[in-house]
C-alpha cells in the first residue's frame, strides 16, 4: 500500500484530534438547528402500516422535538470533549454511533410539527438496499478469490435486460430470473477469460465490460424493445411473499417478513456465503487462492479453476441483482436503470471488510440514504431533492475514506496469477 498515514510520534494522531473536533462541529450543527423553544412542538414517527389491505396497528412514537435534539446534541458534544481529553479506544464505533445520532437528529428536526412513517421508511430502506447487497456479495465472491470485479454494474444491466425480455416472451418470472442470472454469468465469463487466461488488467477489463453492457442494452432497447414494446412487458413486479403468521407482527412483520422472494434469497445467500467462506474446505481454498495463489497452487489447489468458479458465481449474483431491479421491482427495463448500484455494492463490500455481514450492514446504510430523499421531499424541509440525492454517493466516499485505509483486502486481489 502506498498509503500515507498521518501520525505524530508523540501523543495522539492528527486523525484522533480531528475526530474530536469533528464531533464538536456536529454538536454545534445540532444546536444551530434547534428550533425556537416551543414546548408543544412534537415529532411524530408513525409505526402503523398497511400491507395487502390489512392495517398492522402499532402505537406512534412521539418525541418532544426540542428536548430530544438537546439531548442528542449534548451526547455528541460529550463524545467530542471525551475524545479530545482522553480519546476513545474504539473510536470507529463512536463515529458510527455519532453518525447514527446525527441522522436521527436530522429526522427529529425535519419532522417537527409533522409526522413520518418510520415503518415504511425502514421497509423501503431494505428494498433499496437489496440490489446493493447482492452486488456486494457478487463482488465478495470474485474478490475473495483474487479477481477485482468492477463490472458488476454491467452484469446487473445485462441481467436486468435479459430477464425482462425472457419473462415477457415466456410469461414466467422464474425463467426470467434464471435468464438474468445466466446473462450475468456470460459477462462474468468474458471477464474471467480476460483476467485469468489473458491476464488483462482487471480494472480495465471491468471498465470495458461496463461500457459494453451499457452500450449493448441501450442499443437493444432502442433497436428492439422500443419497436416491440411487448418485449418490455413482463407483467407486474414479482409479488411479495408473506411468511404466514409472522407478517402480522407490528413493525417487524412489514419490514422483514413480507418481502419480494428475491430479498429472502438474499438473506439465505448471506448466511450461506458466511458459512461457505468461513466454515468449509471450499471456502478455505478460495481464501487461500485470494491471499497467496502460489502457495495454494503448491498445495495442489487449482488456482485457475477456483477463480473461474468464483467469478462465474459473482456474475450469477450480479445478474440476480439486476433481475431484482427490473422484473423484481420496476416491472420493466429502462436504459441505465442500475444507476451506480453496482459501485455502491463494491463500496459496501469494502465497508464490510470483504465479509457478508458487514457488507449487508453497509448496503443497509446506502439503502437508508437512498430512501430518505423521497421521505424528506414529502416533509418539504427546504433542501432540494437533487441535493439530498447526493447523500448515498457522499456517504460512500466518506465510508471509503474512513474505513478502507484499515480494511484488509485479499492480498492477491487484482493480481493475475501466472503458473511457473
Amino acid at each position: 500500500m502506498a498509503t500515507v498515514t498521518l501520525t505524530r510520534k508523540s501523543g495522539r494522531t492528527i486523525r484522533e484530534i480531528a475526530l474530536g473536533v469533528f464531533f464538536l462541529v456536529l454538536a454545534a450543527l445540532i444546536f444551530l438547528l434547534l428550533p425556537p423553544r416551543v414546548e408543544e412542538l412534537k415529532s411524530t414517527f408513525v409505526l402503523t402500516s398497511l400491507r395487502a389491505g390489512v392495517t398492522i396497528e402499532a402505537p406512534d412514537l412521539v418525541l418532544p422535538t426540542w428536548p430530544a435534539l438537546l439531548v442528542i446534541g449534548l451526547l455528541i458534544a460529550l463524545a467530542g470533549v471525551w475524545q479530545l481529553a482522553r480519546g476513545f479506544r474504539r473510536v470507529d464505533r463512536v463515529v458510527a454511533l455519532a453518525a447514527g445520532l446525527m441522522v436521527a437528529a436530522f429526522f427529529v428536526w425535519a419532522t417537527r410539527d409533522a409526522s413520518i412513517n418510520l415503518t415504511g421508511m425502514l421497509a423501503s430502506s431494505l428494498v433499496r438496499a437489496t440490489p446493493i447487497a447482492l452486488a456486494a456479495l457478487s463482488g465478495l465472491y470474485s474478490e475473495r478469490s483474487g479477481v477485482v470485479n468492477i463490472a458488476i454494474e454491467g452484469m446487473m444491466l445485462v441481467g436486468a435486460f435479459t430477464s425482462v425480455v425472457v419473462a415477457s416472451v415466456s410469461g414466467s418470472m422464474l425463467l426470467g430470473v434464471l435468464a438474468g442470472m445466466l446473462a450475468g454469468v456470460f459477462l462474468a465469463l468474458i471477464h474471467a477469460v480476460m483476467s485469468i487466461r489473458y491476464m488483462v488488467n482487471q480494472i480495465v477489463s471491468g471498465a470495458g465490460l461496463i461500457i459494453l453492457a451499457l452500450g449493448l442494452t441501450s442499443y437493444l432497447q432502442r433497436s428492439v424493445l422500443n419497436l416491440n414494446p411487448e418485449l418490455n412487458q413482463p407483467g407486474p413486479a414479482i409479488p411479495a411473499f408473506a411468511i404466514p403468521g409472522l407478517w402480522k407482527i407490528p413493525v417487524l412483520g412489514p419490514v422483514l417478513f413480507n418481502l419480494s422472494p428475491i430479498i429472502f434469497v438474499l438473506f439465505i445467500l448471506l448466511v450461506v456465503t458466511r458459512i461457505l467462506m468461513n466454515n468449509t474446505r471450499w471456502g478455505l481454498r478460495v481464501r487461500a487462492v485470494g491471499e497467496h495463489p502460489r502457495a495454494a497452487d503448491t498445495l495442489g489447489i487449482n488456482v485457475f479453476r477456483t477463480r473461474y468458479i468464483c467469478v462465474l458465481i459473482s456474475g450469477a449474483i450480479a445478474g440476480l441483482a439486476g433481475t431484482y431491479m427490473s422484473i423484481g421491482a420496476a416491472g420493466r427495463f429502462n436504459e441505465g436503470m442500475t444507476a451506480g448500484k453496482g459501485f455502491l455494492g463494491l463500496a459496501a463490500m469494502i465497508f464490510g471488510n470483504w465479509n457478508p455481514g458487514g457488507a449487508f450492514l453497509g448496503s443497509l446504510v446506502f439503502g437508508f440514504f437512498d430512501s430518505w430523499q423521497e421521505k424528506l421531499a414529502l416533509l418539504e424541509v427546504g433542501i432540494a431533492g437533487t441535493l439530498l440525492g447526493m447523500a448515498p454517493y457522499l456517504a460512500t466516499m466518506i465510508v471509503l475514506a474512513g474505513f478502507v485505509g484499515r480494511a484488509r483486502m485479499p492480498a492477491a486481489d487484482g493480481q493475475p496469477y501466472e503458473k511457473q
Partner: protein, 426 residues
C-alpha cells in the same frame, strides 16, 4: 500498492520467415508496428459491430426465417444492410464524395462558397466532436501515466462546463481577451478541484480513485441538476442556463453551417503541452515514475502524496477543459445533456492511444469521425447511435487484451509485453 507481473508476453520470439502477411507487416514496420494492433482492434470491433447491426435489423431477421428457400438472397440482404449502415457512417463522418466534388467544381466556376461549406460540414462536425474527446482522452491518459484510473472525467467535464458558463454569462462588458481566458480558467479550476478531491482521498486514506471518481460523477450530475433547476436556471423554468456573452465564445473558424471552432486547435496545442510536461519536465518525470513503480519512486525521493494529488488535479483540469471547450465553442449555454458520455469514451481513447498524447489525438479523431457518422447512420440506416458505444467497448477490450487480436490474426509478438496501467484496490 503491490507490483504485478507485467501482463502477457513472456519471452521474445525469434522472427522467422512467415507466410502471414500481417506478421510480415508487423515485423517490417518496426516502430510503426505499435499502430498495427490498435488498427486491427478497431477493425475487429467494426466487424463485430456489423454482426450486431445485422442481428438487430428487423429486415435481416425476417429474411433469415426463409434462409433455406433462398440462401444467397438472404446473405445479400444481410450484406446490403451492413454495407448501407457503414456507408452512411462514412458519409456522415467525412461528407459525401459526390457532393464535395460538385461543390468544388461549383466554387471554381462561380466562386460560391455556400455549397462548399455545406459539403464539408460533416467533416467539420466530426472535428467538433473530436475536440472534447481530445481533452478528455488526455485527462485519462495523464492519469494512466501516473498510475491512476480517472473514471471521473465525465463529472469533471460537467463541473468545467458549469464554471465556464457561469463566468460566461455573469460578465457582459468585458473585452474578449479578458473574458475568454477567464472563462477557460474557471473551467480548468473547477475540473481540477473535482479531480483533486479523489486524488487527495487516495493519497491520504488509500480510498480507491475508481470508486471515488465514479461517486464524484454522480454528485456532479446531482449538482448540475440542482444548479440548472435553481440558481442557474434561465427564464421560463427550463433547466437551461441563459446564453453566455459573445466575448466568452471560442471563436468560430468558418461561416455559419461549419461549427468548427478555435477549441480544436487549442486541444492540439494542449496535447503538445501535455507531451512536453510529461516527458520534458521534472514534475512530469515524477508523475511517470509514480505510475511505473511507486516504491522505486519513493526511494528516489518523489513525494507520492503530492504527486498523486497533482496528477488527479491535472487530469481533472484537462477533463474540465473538455466541458469548457464544448460550452464556449459549441453550445454557448449549459444543458443537462450536453455531454454524450465523453468521460466514459475517454477511457477507450486513452487505452487506444497507449496513453500517449499523439495516440490520444489520433484516437480522438477516429472516435470523432465514428460519432459524427453515427448520427447519419441512425437517420439513414436506422441503426441507433449506441452501436458506437458497443464498438468503443470492444476496442477497449481488444486493446487491453492484445493476445486476443494476436490470436485471431496469428501475429507473434516481437517485443516485451505491454505495461500495466492501473492496479488493484490498494
Amino acid at each position: 500498492m503491490s507490483e504485478k507481473p507485467a501482463a502477457s508476453e513472456t519471452a521474445e520470439t525469434p522472427v522467422e520467415p512467415t507466410k502471414n502477411i500481417l506478421q510480415r507487416i508487423f515485423v517490417r514496420t518496426g516502430k510503426l508496428s505499435s499502430l498495427l494492433l490498435p488498427i486491427l482492434a478497431v477493425f475487429s470491433a467494426l466487424v463485430i459491430g456489423a454482426v450486431i447491426i445485422a442481428v438487430s435489423s428487423p429486415d435481416v431477421l425476417t429474411a433469415w426465417k426463409a434462409f433455406f428457400q433462398d440462401p444467397l438472397g438472404v446473405l445479400s440482404i444481410t450484406w446490403f444492410t451492413v454495407r448501407d449502415a457503414y456507408i452512411a457512417l462514412f458519409e456522415g463522418s467525412f461528407g459525401q464524395p459526390k457532393q464535395i466534388a460538385e461543390a468544388i467544381r461549383n466554387w471554381r466556376g462561380t466562386g460560391e462558397t455556400r455549397p462548399l461549406l455545406e459539403a464539408f460540414r460533416p467533416f467539420s462536425e466530426s472535428l467538433v466532436i473530436a475536440t472534447p474527446y481530445i481533452f478528455a482522452g488526455l485527462a485519462v491518459a495523464l492519469g494512466f501515466r501516473g498510475g491512476l484510473f480517472n473514471i471521473g472525467a465525465e463529472g469533471q467535464l460537467f463541473l468545467g462546463g458549469l464554471a465556464s458558463v457561469y463566468v460566461g454569462y455573469s460578465f457582459t462588458n468585458l473585452p474578449w481577451f479578458v473574458h475568454l481566458p477567464l472563462a477557460l480558467l474557471a473551467g480548468i479550476a473547477a475540473g481540477a478541484i473535482w479531480g483533486a478531491i479523489p486524488g487527495f482521498l487516495k493519497a491520504r486514506t488509500g480510498a480507491h480513485e475508481v470508486i471515488n471518481t465514479i461517486m464524484m460523477n454522480y454528485v456532479a450530475f446531482r449538482l448540475t441538476d440542482y444548479l440548472l433547476q435553481g440558481p442557474m436556471a434561465g427564464p421560463g423554468g427550463l433547466p437551461i442556463t441563459i446564453e453566455i456573452a459573445t466575448s466568452a465564445y471560442l471563436p468560430s473558424l468558418f461561416p455559419k453551417p461549419m461549427r468548427i471552432h478555435a477549441g480544436f486547435f487549442l486541444a492540439l496545442a494542449v496535447a503538445a503541452l501535455v507531451y512536453w510536461f510529461l516527458w520534458k519536465t521534472t514534475r512530469g518525470l515524477e508523475i511517470r515514475m509514480v505510475g511505473a513503480n511507486p516504491h522505486a519512486a519513493r526511494y528516489a525521493g518523489v513525494r507520492i502524496t503530492s504527486t498523486i494529488v497533482l496528477t488527479m488535479a491535472l487530469s481533472g483540469a484537462l477533463a474540465g477543459l473538455a466541458g469548457t471547450a464544448q460550452v464556449l465553442g459549441v453550445n454557448h449555454k449549459m444543458v443537462r445533456a450536453f455531454s454524450t458520455g465523453y468521460g466514459f469514451d475517454s477511457i477507450a481513447l486513452a487505452l487506444l492511444g497507449n496513453s500517449h498524447p499523439l495516440g490520444v489525438v489520433l484516437a480522438s479523431l477516429l472516435f470523432g469521425f465514428l460519432r459524427g457518422g453515427a448520427a447519419r447512420m441512425q437517420s439513414v440506416a436506422g441503426v441507433p447511435v449506441e452501436i458506437i458505444r458497443i464498438i468503443q467497448a470492444l476496442v477497449i477490450i481488444f486493446v487491453a487484451a492484445p493476445e486476443i487480436i494476436r490470436g485471431i490474426y496469428r501475429i507473434k509478438a516481437i517485443r516485451e509485453g505491454e505495461k500495466t496501467l492501473a492496479r488493484g484496490w490498494g
